[in-house]
């Protein structure tokens, strides 16, 4: 049932999005209009920069929470709650790839991140589409994007404070620390 909802969603335009989302029991609580990043005729929906024949220019999709401090901080909380942190940690990666470097496998555009979360990615990224309401997906995506070092108003990589400080305690160790910085 979920799958049918999703493919319906993919094929649909922005206009019918809310209706379909409602029929999939995904309640839209915000006033914001949520863009439809899954549409294949938008550049952000593409995962290849190589287009056969003449490249077509599409309108850009923006994250409704881009630069929105409270949306990003809610996104940070949800990132923990849905266990994104268990695989990506504070952006440095683990099971999943890091968000702190410039190398994005599936793209760093808002719609790419949205799609990574909603549809999942084949090498172990869970498809959260059924689990997380769309508005929250955008909030999480805004937080994830804010970790990218190329962001001018970037959030610091350590999400929560205590463990971020390097020194403290009665640590005896004096070995190499810090190492390579990017």
């Amino acid at each position: 049932m979920f799958l049918r909802c999703r493919s319906g969603f993919l094929a649909a335009g922005i206009g019918v999005l809310t209706v379909l989302a409602a029929s999939c029991e995904r309640r839209e609580t915000s006033e914001r209009r949520m863009p439809a990043p899954g549409r294949l005729d938008t550049p952000a929906g593409l995962e290849s920069g190589l287009q056969p024949g003449a490249a077509i220019v599409f309108p850009e999709i923006r994250n409704p929470y881009e630069g929105d401090a409270s949306g990003i901080s809610e996104g940070r909380r949800l990132y923990q709650w849905y266990n994104c942190s268990g695989c990506h940690f504070n952006g440095g990666g683990g099971i999943g790839p890091p968000f702190l470097d410039a190398d994005w496998i599936y793209g760093r555009e808002p719609a790419n991140i949205f799609n990574s979360i909603v549809r999942g990615r084949p090498n172990g990224m869970p498809a959260y589409g059924r689990r997380i309401p769309e508005q929250q997906v955008w909030q999480i995506a805004a937080y994830v994007a804010s970790l990218d070092p190329r962001q001018p108003d970037r959030a610091p990589p350590g999400a929560r404070e205590p463990l971020v400080q390097e020194e403290g305690g009665d640590r005896e160790g004096t070995g190499p620390r810090g190492g390579q910085q990017r």
């Binding site: 709650w81 695989c87 940690f89 440095g92 172990g124 463990l163 640590r171 005896e172 004096t174 070995g175």
Partner: protein
């Protein structure tokens, strides 16, 4: 300088007079090392007894000459057959070969004779197996099994089980595989997506494939099976995903499940019945796998089996440890959390539990109990005992009577501050409350760190020295307990961790341990965690690899470095040795950095976030300056 210094920690009586004379003072280290060569040359060359008959599998080996400390191989140890048919070499898990052509005098002439690239960037933790004239290696995900001609590395066949790609998402600590096992013309191994497969060793054709777990419950499989009798013993991984841990015995012939025992839940699920006689009172009682948990929490409580299994054919007992309870944050699971973080002895045929001992009731630091148990016989307070040696993640070396589960000794082999010792009356560790973890609490400098004083990297035992050779870690951590939200198939950890080097700044150690004296004899410091297995040989050479790409040979008596060779990538695998069709002794090892310790390289993680890879990144930020990823198997011989 790293890895070049040997610290002598106490005196060896027999072969090393020089230790007595020179003592362990750092000031005389140079002289000591110089004399080590001479003395080692003089005292370790009694040749091991040579095998005589043609059907080695059936025969029991004549014992090695008795060592000063009296610790020796189990009486049922089989005669050397020049092969390496299971990851740990034998059921006793000694990783000891009686081959002695390569010895302390000539090991420095070793040359690589061939290599084979796997083309895979993940951590290569497996042991190369050799049966007859064929080498078998299993790669990390996608778990390809290669059969190679031992003579020249020619590729005979490959078998691809094609695990589902999504399985990579539930492998907590890199998509590793710890190897295969050979028995009766078949190779057995596990796939990341929870299948055990049997492959015909000659043709490479699949004989059977059995599904044992579900990635959507967070389960995966990474361990090397143990085959004994007609049973293939395997277990699941996923202690960081809220799985319910189990061990399963498959029928070797058909792949049908013979029995399965869970490590949480009611006694009937744990195969605990009339034969269960744990040595300590705390492990007795009905349904402790339910009662030592908050209601229902046992269903997602962990207790996985991703480490090593041993088997004693005389006692007909299987030994293996159980993993950590989940989530890491201990406040969410009040109680002793049985049967996690402990050791089970079971009957092979039906899995019935015989005894259990818990190393860490109510674990607070991710101290899985899954490390290897090496089965040896030794005198203890004037009495001959059948024991197992178990270098615990907690930093304590357990010597346990393997007939009944009694702990004979438990002494620290590495720096620990989470507990001051083990109470031998109750089996419980004496915890340091300052290092107790909990929700919202930041506890600093807990030693050892979550991967333990020693993680999966298996040690080797030499019956010629009576010593256990332990590759291990020197890591501490800061730990903060967090809320944990159970969503099946995603991590269930509830903690944030940052690891750092332990005292004196090195991150790895290679320790020679005297189990009778319960003391280290010498230690080699390594820059990075010593994340490879060890191999001991009758040439009195011990081999291991380092994450900064050195494959090393050291003197089994003195710890002196005899040879080292730089490989293409860091070494986190298990070396093996075999006799080739030409009668010569060879050595084999895989390179290919990764695993939990090497995830920063194999997963191309960011050094900017120390909490990455469950906090291991913080201690490994400089690893990318020493190695890149990429797996290969390498074979070495004398000219």
């Amino acid at each position: 300088m790293w890895g070049g210094q040997v610290q002598f920690l106490h005196q060896l009586s027999c072969r090393a007079d020089f230790v007595k004379r020179w003592g362990a003072r750092p000031a005389v280290r140079t002289a000591l090392l110089a004399s080590a060569l001479l003395v080692a040359g003089g005292c370790q060359r009694e040749p091991a007894p040579r095998p005589t008959a043609a059907t080695p599998e059936q025969r029991t080996a004549a014992p090695e000459p008795r060592t000063a400390n009296g610790v020796r191989e189990a009486a049922w140890t089989k005669e050397e057959d020049g092969q390496w048919a299971m990851a740990a070499k034998n059921w006793a898990n000694t990783r000891y070969s009686r081959l002695d052509q390569i010895n302390t005098g000539n090991v420095n002439q070793l040359r690589q004779v061939w290599s084979f690239n796997t083309g895979i960037a993940a951590g290569h933790e497996a042991a190369p197996l050799v049966v007859g004239d064929t080498m078998y290696v299993v790669t990390p995900y996608p778990n390809v099994l290669y059969a190679l001609d031992v003579r020249d590395g020619g590729l005979r066949w490959s078998y691809r089980p094609r695990p589902v790609r999504a399985a990579q998402g539930v492998a907590c600590c890199d998509v590793v595989n710890r190897g295969a096992a050979y028995a009766d013309g078949r190779i057995f191994f596990n796939t990341l997506d929870n299948h055990t497969v049997a492959v015909d060793a000659k043709s490479g054709k699949e004989v059977w494939k059995t599904k044992l777990g579900d990635i959507n419950l967070g389960e995966s499989m990474t361990m090397a099976p143990l085959v004994a009798g007609n049973r293939v013993l395997v277990g699941n991984s996923g202690g960081e995903f809220g799985v319910r841990g189990w061990i399963t015995a498959l029928e070797a012939g058909s792949g049908k499940i013979a029995w399965r025992a869970y490590h949480t839940g009611p006694d009937k699920d744990a195969l605990i019945g009339a034969d269960f006689r744990p040595f300590y009172a705390g492990d007795r009682g009905e349904d402790l796998g339910v009662k030592t948990w908050p209601p229902g929490q046992w269903k997602i409580g962990g207790g996985t089996v991703w480490g090593w299994i041993s088997y004693d054919p005389e006692l007909d007992m299987v030994y293996y440890g159980t993993g950590n309870p989940g989530p890491w944050n201990p406040e969410l699971r009040e109680g002793d959390n049985k049967w996690t973080c402990g050791l089970f002895a079971r009957r092979l045929s039906d899995g019935a539990a015989i005894w259990f001992v818990q190393f860490v009731p109510h674990d607070e630091h991710d101290y899985d109990g899954v490390n290897e148990s090496i089965l040896v016989d030794m005198p203890w307070r004037g009495e001959e005992r059948k024991v197992l040696l178990h270098p615990e993640r907690t930093g304590f070396m357990y010597v346990i009577d393997r007939t009944n589960g009694e702990i004979l000794s438990a002494e620290p082999f590495a720096h620990t501050n989470w507990a001051t010792g083990v109470d031998l009356q109750t089996s419980r560790p004496i915890k340091n409350e300052e290092k107790a973890t909990g929700l919202g609490k930041v506890v600093r400098n807990v030693c050892p760190a979550a991967p333990g004083a020693k993680d999966w990297q298996p040690s080797a035992f030499s019956p010629r020295t009576g010593l256990l050779y332990i590759p291990h870690n020197n890591l501490c951590m800061d730990f903060e307990g967090l809320e944990a939200n159970y969503i099946a198939g995603t991590p269930y950890v509830g903690a944030e961790v940052k690891m750092m080097p332990g005292p004196s700044g090195h991150r790895g150690e290679f320790t020679a341990w005297d189990p009778a004296a319960a003391k280290a004899v010498w230690k080699i410091e390594e820059r990075f965690p010593a994340w490879s297995g060890a191999l001991a040989t009758a040439g009195d050479v011990v081999f291991y690899g380092t994450m900064d790409r050195w494959f090393k040979a050291v003197n089994a008596v003195t710890g002196q470095n005899l040879w080292q060779h730089r490989l293409g990538s860091g070494i986190v695998s298990q070396p093996s040795t075999f006799r080739g069709p030409d009668g010569k002794q060879y050595l084999a090892v895989m390179s290919g950095v990764g695993g939990w310790a090497g995830a920063i390289v194999s997963g191309q993680l960011s050094a900017e976030d120390g909490t990455g890879a469950l906090g291991f990144v913080n201690a490994m930020k400089d690893l990318p300056e020493h190695t890149a990823a990429g797996g290969a198997v390498h074979v070495f011989a004398l000219p």
